[in-house]
Each structure stands twice: as C-alpha cells, then as structure tokens.
C-alpha cells in the first residue's frame, strides 16, 4: 500500500428508501452501512426514509435528475415510467416465497429485462430481491371474501386494481401516514405487507386482525442508481455497492422468514384469521384472468406474463415446498 494516500474528495450520495425509518433500519440501512464501512470514506451514502427529501410520487424523476442518487423501492409504488410498473411490488399471485424472486430474475431472465428497460429511461437498475408476502391487516374481522367489500385499504396500485373487483377500496397516502390514517378513520387497514412489517412499523397497534391468505408471496423490490452517478463511480466502488446490496438480501431473507413465523405463532397484537382455501380459489382464478389482461398491454408485458406462467408451471409440477400442497 502507498505510504501516503492522496487526500481525495469523498463521493457523496443521497439515497432514499421506500420504507419509513422503523422499517428502513432492517430493509435498507444494513446495505448502506456496509457500503459506507467498506468504502473507507471514498463513498459516503446518506440514507433518507420515505418522503423525506422528495415525495414518493416524484421519486423516479428525482432519481433521473440526480436530486437523489439512489433509491430502494418497487416499480409499482414509485410509479415507474416503464412497462415493468405493474410487475414490481406485488404482482397478484405471481410468487409464493421470497426465493422465487431471485430465481425469476437470475434464471428466468427478468434481470436482463429490468436492466434494459431502466437503461432506456436513464436509470441504472442494480438488483432485485424478494421480501415479505402481501397479507391483510384490518380493524374488522375478515373470514370470507364478502368481508372485503367496502374496506378502505392502504395498498399498492396494481394490487388495488386487482382487489377492487372484490369490493376493496384501495387508498394511496404517504407510507408514514398510514398508521395515523387508520386512527383518523381514513383507512380500515392495509393490504401491504406480511406480519413482520405490521409489528415493526406500528400497524399492529392500530389494527386487530391478520388474514393469513396472501395475494402475493413476495414483494419484488429493487435498488436503483442515477445512471450518470453510476457511470462516474470507480470500478472497485461499484463492486462494493453491488456486493453489499446482494449481501443485504440474505439479511432480509432471514429477518422476514423468521419474523413471519414467529409473529404469527407468538405475536399478541393481531389475531389470525383465514378465508377457506375453497373460497380463496376465486381470487386465484381472478388472478389468471388478471394476468391475461396484463399480457395484452404490450410486448414486454406479454413476455413477463409468459415467464411467470412458465415458472408457475415448473413449480406446480415440482409440488411442495414450491406449492402449498
């Protein structure tokens, strides 16, 4: 090593995550901390939480212009201006477990499609991972599909579009306001996450029931960087950023997988409820129709739906644990 290191101006990034500060500690901060530690002062990333610098609706354009340099979010809730928009977040009933996501990206070609589509709109897509399933937590008890009728739920745009056929009224407000919105009567609950997030961010304090049926088994979320900023980054720092993000997927995997089981089994704030599988079949069938509609949106959408179908075909032939039995 050289005896005298040339004093160099640190590269500074502002990074905003979709998560509020309580959740952000688990889902985004570990990656950022690891990058900062490994970069030894050459790259310093400042982490901001939901809506802190720019409102989530403006996140994407802020990323393009470089108002913020990096983002952790999903294509759907950040209103991505790509044909991928509906397929990030929770594409209805597309996955069963968090591990399905890296398989789809690395073995079934989603990574190339994501890379390509974001390059077209001036953003560098780095990595996607699966997180928790999309369950319901509500103030009212839900034990049948009819109970969903008229519920105002905080949910993702595409999930909301899908759920509205069952009478759900999807609501969109800033992430950090969701808990209070339940208390002020704006919301009846959420269709946004698994039970770990419900307990972590305080939603379990304001709702009473947790529905074990999910409309998707894993959230598909990505890390993005401003294209120019990525190009300007020296190669060894690129490696640090990418490896730290990949490593953080492992942390999240165990945090969610363990949390979902423990809090369902031992948590004392939410009572578990289920819609019988025979009845839930209606939702699964509706998803098939929904996929067909989505496939008609364009070439990319058709390709993605086909990939989801292919993968589903493989897993259903493979049987448990790839399916529920």
């Amino acid at each position: 090593a050289p005896a005298v290191l040339k004093a160099q101006e640190a590269i500074k990034w502002r990074f905003q995550t979709y998560a509020g500060s309580a959740l952000g500690q688990e889902v985004t901060k570990p990656a950022i901390d690891a990058i900062n530690a490994a970069a030894q002062g050459e790259l310093e990333i400042e982490l901001y939480y939901a809506d802190q610098i720019v409102p989530t609706g403006e996140l994407f354009q802020a990323l393009q212009r470089g108002t913020i340099d990096g983002v952790h979010s999903d294509d759907d809730s950040m209103a991505s201006p790509t044909p991928l928009r509906q397929f990030g977040g929770y594409f209805p009933l597309a996955t069963k477990h968090a591990l399905d996501v890296p398989v789809l990206f690395k073995q079934y070609g989603l990574a190339e499609i994501w890379e390509e589509e974001y390059a077209k709109v001036g953003v560098k897509w780095l990595s996607a991972a699966g997180q928790d399933p999309c369950n319901f937590n509500t103030k009212k008890e839900v034990t049948s599909l009819a109970d969903l009728e008229g519920l105002r739920l905080y949910t993702f745009p595409t999930a909301g579009e899908f759920l509205s056929q069952f009478g759900v009224v999807p609501m969109n407000i800033p992430y950090e306001d969701a808990q209070v919105a339940v208390q002020t009567g704006e919301l009846d609950g959420m269709a946004w996450s698994g039970i770990t997030e419900d307990y972590t961010v305080g939603w379990a304090d304001v709702t009473d029931y947790f529905l074990t049926n999910n409309i998707s088994g894993a959230w598909i979320g990505s890390f993005f960087v401003n294209q120019q900023r990525w190009a300007d980054l020296p190669d060894h720092l690129k490696t640090i950023v990418s490896s730290a993000i990949e490593a953080s997927h492992t942390y999240r995997n165990q945090w969610y997988w363990g949390g979902e089981a423990r809090l369902r089994a031992q948590g004392d704030k939410l009572q578990l409820r289920s819609i019988p599988q025979e009845e839930w079949k209606v939702v699964e069938d509706a998803a098939v129709t929904f996929w067909d509609e989505m496939a008609e949106q364009g070439e990319v959408a058709a390709k993605l739906v086909q990939i989801f179908r292919d993968y589903k075909d493989v897993t259903s032939k493979a049987g448990p644990p790839y399916t529920f039995g």
Binding site: R14, S21, E46, Y48, D51, Q52, I53, V54, P55, G57, E58, Q61, A62, R65, G66, T67, I68, I173, P174, E176, D177, Q179, V180, Q183, T184, G185, E186
Partner: protein, 441 residues
Amino acid sequence: MSYELIALLMFSTMMLMLLTGQRVFGAIGFVAVVAALLLWGDRGGYDIGYSALIKLMNWYPMLTLPMFVFMGYVLSESKIADDLYKMFHVWMGGVKGGLAIGTIGLMVLVSAMNGLSVAGMAIGSTIALPELLKRGYDKKMVTGVIQAGSSLGILVPPSVVLVLYAMIARQPVGHLWLAGVGPGLMMAALFIAYIVIRCALNPALGPALPEAERAQVTRAEKMRLLRAGLLPLGIFAVMMVPFVKGWTSLVEASAIGAIAAFIAAVLKGRMTKTVFLTATRNTLGISCMFMWIILAALAFGAVFDGLGAVKAISFLFTEQLGLSPWVILILMQLSFLVMGSFLDDTAMLVIVAPLYVPLVGALGFDLVWYGVLYTITCQIAYMTPPFGYNLFLMRAMAPPEISLKDIYGSIAPFVAVMILALTLTMVFPQIATWLPNYVYQ
C-alpha cells in the same frame, strides 16, 4: 464549507430576510431555493421547491384548514356569536370582573367552533371589547383578556396547529385534539382566577354591572339567552362525535363542521350575501397565506434535511452536550419560545418541529403530550412581541383609544399564566393525556 455551517447560514439568512418585511413565504422560499441550487446545482436543485408542492398535496389533513378557517369567518362575520356574548353578559355581569370572565367563557366556546385564533380575535375585539370599555373596565386588562382568550382557538379542538403537528409528528389528530381539551380548560380557568384575584384586589379594574341594569333583563330572557350556548355545543358535537366515533374521517368531519356553522348562520337569518362573500373571500386569503408559507417552509425543511440537520441536532443535544432528557426538553421549549417570538410560528413548526420531534420521540416522551406542550408554546409565541399574530390583529381591530403601548403592556400577566399552564402540563402529563386515553381505550 461544512453542512452545519451551511445550515446555520441558512437559518440566519432567513431571519435577516424576514426582517426586511418582505412577505414571509417569499423570504423563506428564497433562502430555500438558493440553498438547494447551491447544494444540488443543476442536478435537480431547482425542483426541491416544486416537489414541496407535491408533498403538501399529499398531506391530506391540510384539507381541514380552509374548513376551519371558513367556520371561524362564518361565526365572526354573521355575528351569531352576539347572543353568546349577551348570555355571558347577563349571567356574569353582576360579579366583579364578570364581563371579563364572561369574555373568557365566550372565547372557549368560539374556540370549540374554529381552528385558529383569528375568529376569536375578531369576535372579541368587535363584540366584547367595546362593551367592556363602555362599562369602565380597565383597557389594558381587557385587551389582554381578548388576546389570551382568543389564543385558546388553537388549543381547544378543533385546532389547525395540532393538525399540522399531527402530520409532522405522525400522531393521530383525534388523540391530539382531545389532549388539548384539559389544558385548554385549565388555562381558561387560570385566566379567570387571575381576573377574579385582580378585580378583588382592585375593583376599579372591572366594576360589576349596576343592580338597575341587571333588573331590566327578565328571567325568561335570561333563560332564552342560555339556550344560545347550545349552538356552539351543537356544532362542536355534530363535528366531533362522528369523528371520535370513527364514522367519519378527519377531513370529512371538518367539512361537516363548516357546513353546520353555515347552516346555523342561515337558520338564524344572518347569512346575507355580504357575509357570505366576505367569509368566502377571507377564507381564501388566510388559507393562501398559510399554504404558501408551508410550501416555502417545506422546501426549506427538505434542504435542511438533506444537510443532515436532524442527525446534527440529536448529536449535539445527546452526545456532545450529554444532557438528560428533561433538560433537552426544556431547552427545546425555550428555544421554541425565543424563535417563536421572532418568527412566524407556522414556518417555525414546519422547519423546526421535524428537527425536534424525532428527538423527543427517541428520548421516550409521549408525542401526543408533547404536541400539547408545543401548542401552548405556539400560543405564547403568538402573544409575545416583536412578532405575533395577536399583536397584528389587535392593532388592526382595536378601537383607537387602545394604543400599541397598551397592547404590548397588556400581555405580560397572561403570558405568565400561560407559562404556568405549560409548566403544570409538563409536570402533570395526565392533564393532557387523561381524556384521549379514556376515550380511545
């Protein structure tokens, strides 16, 4: 230049700009966009200002602001508060200082029907003040009574200040509003106690109405006037009950309140075309004033946040100075008081509260309780020179025999009472937290 230095520079430049007398939103917005351009340059520096507009659009509880402002203007312009005043007048007139006590009562009722202190100020200075002066009440004392009484508008629910705080601290508005009830009533009681004591010591300050005048009012008339008191309670209930019960959401409740006040004025035959147009126009004016200030302050706050000011403040208080939670809390309140007496308090809330509130939460304090402390601090900031809305409004509305000196001189004892109320609420949090805990448990 270090980020701390930039933050300090931004804050001091803003103070300086405000002193030039340019409109508050312009001064704050200017500093915000210049700082954003310097920090971010052409990489999005110009869109911090506008993205604050989208942020403000997403703050849906702000929908309540024009509703509560409109309620206030309907009350003051249509003079439906006249009967309320008369009620206190005939019932309290016989007591020494009774009209002043009645004015405090009037202010509590008016506060329950609108979200700011503007309406209380207007009603107090147009209805109560001339009467009080005519009856030989001490002008300095009554000027103070009206200013202090009207400031209850933001503590007694509904309150726009608590809505704004709720958004920043992410606390439920219902809890905050109910938490304001106890301290609000306590503060009103303390004002009354102060009036009673002063008038007992020196009856010339607030002479009782002569027996002859009181005899003119029949018992039937007295009872009729008592019914006038039902009106504000009715409006308050129509708005608050469905909201607290969860039948309507906050923003819907505010619209219902505004419509209820409007209907009350129509039924009383006071909703003339002039009243309607004046109330509508003034509501636009005041709502715009607030919104443009918040818009600018949000941009300022985003840049401040971008500089890592939140972390810097927490670090300063907890690590560098190593202070205990209570000392930090008291220091924050003091700094709020000092800044609030110079600055516009809406801007203060939007800029400073995001820096303080996370720290207050991290120190383990109840953020609902802190919201009440914050609001009382706001009331004090309203009242104290050199900058205070009450001072402006009083100057604009008071009759000519009340000089600026009277106005400034009148507030000291009431500010002292408010500081006492603040201290009591700090020491006994139950004053604030009992009601929300009771209702929501």
